[in-house]
């Protein structure tokens, strides 16, 4: 070892300075990552899997194929946004966007990609979905359920963030395929699109469902303006079961020939 280097390393004062420096650097890193307290994420949506599933095996008529195609194409123009602070989040459609040439189709595609506005309170463990159907407002309150994700070591970059893959087995969701999420541990909040909240050790930047894939296109952390979630008040709420029951009435009407 060169004399000058051994002189530095074995000097007591120098050792003390190196130790202090390393401790300070570690503290700064921890403080900085703990300070991601709020943010905003914009998600794009793809419904190509919806289209492919709809037309597979050639079972769709040309007109039905066209309907699936129009739906998937309109979804490409959807943009959803997630605002969050350390305890709460709101997930909703971005307002004022032109999605397709048909207002009816816009409303349907919005419904298919997010039922409405999701308010999440991680601290209280509750979620509120505010949605509309035929001019009537529905407020569905539920408890956040712990989802049994399998965390993998598979990783990929989404924007500036290193994300890890997590898999939710289809037996947990009732869907016909597994759900895949890519979450960023660097953003240590367990929020994500729609009702996939409360279970992963990082913000979900990509969520793949059988019918739609949500991918973060932009992430803004710790904006200057404080993120305040205005939870709706003075509202009548219902349970998920009650909401499902209301939807079943619509289905019954459809089955009866509308």
């Amino acid at each position: 070892m060169p004399d000058f280097l051994s002189g530095i390393l074995f000097n007591k004062n120098m050792k003390k300075y190196i130790l202090v420096y390393l401790s300070f650097a570690s503290l700064v890193t921890n403080v900085l990552s703990a300070q991601i307290v709020s943010g905003k994420v914009w998600y794009n949506v793809s419904m190509e899997d919806f289209y492919k599933d709809g037309v597979k095996d050639g079972r769709a008529s040309p007109e039905l194929d066209r309907m699936f195609r129009m739906t998937a194409d309109a979804a490409n123009n959807i943009q959803l946004e997630l605002l969050f602070n350390q305890e709460q989040s709101i997930f909703q459609h971005q307002k004022g966007l032109s999605i397709s040439d048909y207002e009816e189709l816009d409303e349907l595609v919005k419904m298919l990609t997010s039922d409405g506005t999701y308010y999440t309170d991680i601290k209280d463990g509750t979620q509120l979905l505010q949605t509309f159907y035929e001019g009537r407002e529905y407020n569905i309150e539920s408890e956040i359920e712990k989802q049994d994700w399998t965390l993998t070591k598979e990783k990929k970059q989404i924007g500036k963030f290193l994300c890890y893959k997590a898999i939710l087995d289809k037996s947990n969701t009732g869907l016909n395929e597994d759900t895949i999420a890519w979450y960023a541990p660097e953003i240590p909040v367990s929020f994500g699109p729609v009702d996939f909240v409360g279970s992963l050790p990082g913000l979900i930047l990509e969520l793949k469902l059988p019918i739609a894939t949500y991918t973060a296109s932009k992430v803004e952390l710790n904006p200057k303006k404080e993120v305040i979630i205005n939870w709706p008040t003075d509202i009548e709420t219902m349970t998920e079961e009650e909401y499902k029951s209301e939807g079943d009435k619509v289905k019954a009407q459809l089955d009866g020939g509308w």
Binding site: E104, Y133, K249, K251
Partner: protein
């Protein structure tokens, strides 16, 4: 010469007959209600949500009828 006349007549006869058949058989119109029900059934099958199925039905019906007019 007689054979040539016969062949030409046959060709014209077949051509005229098939064009008459085409004129007599109109293009099959799309049944918008059937389409709307098919689309709504698919949506319900995927989402298990009556509201989405209802919305899918009205949307498909509206778009189809708009396209037919």
């Amino acid at each position: 010469m007689k054979k040539r006349i016969f062949l030409l007549s046959t060709v014209f006869a077949i051509g005229f007959t098939s064009s008459s058949l085409n004129a007599a058989t109109p293009e099959m119109p799309v049944d918008c209600e059937d389409l709307a029900f098919d689309y709504a059934d698919y949506i319900y099958d995927k989402y298990n949500d009556g509201f989405k199925a209802g919305k899918a039905f009205t949307t498909a019906l509206a778009l189809c009828e708009a396209a037919m007019n």
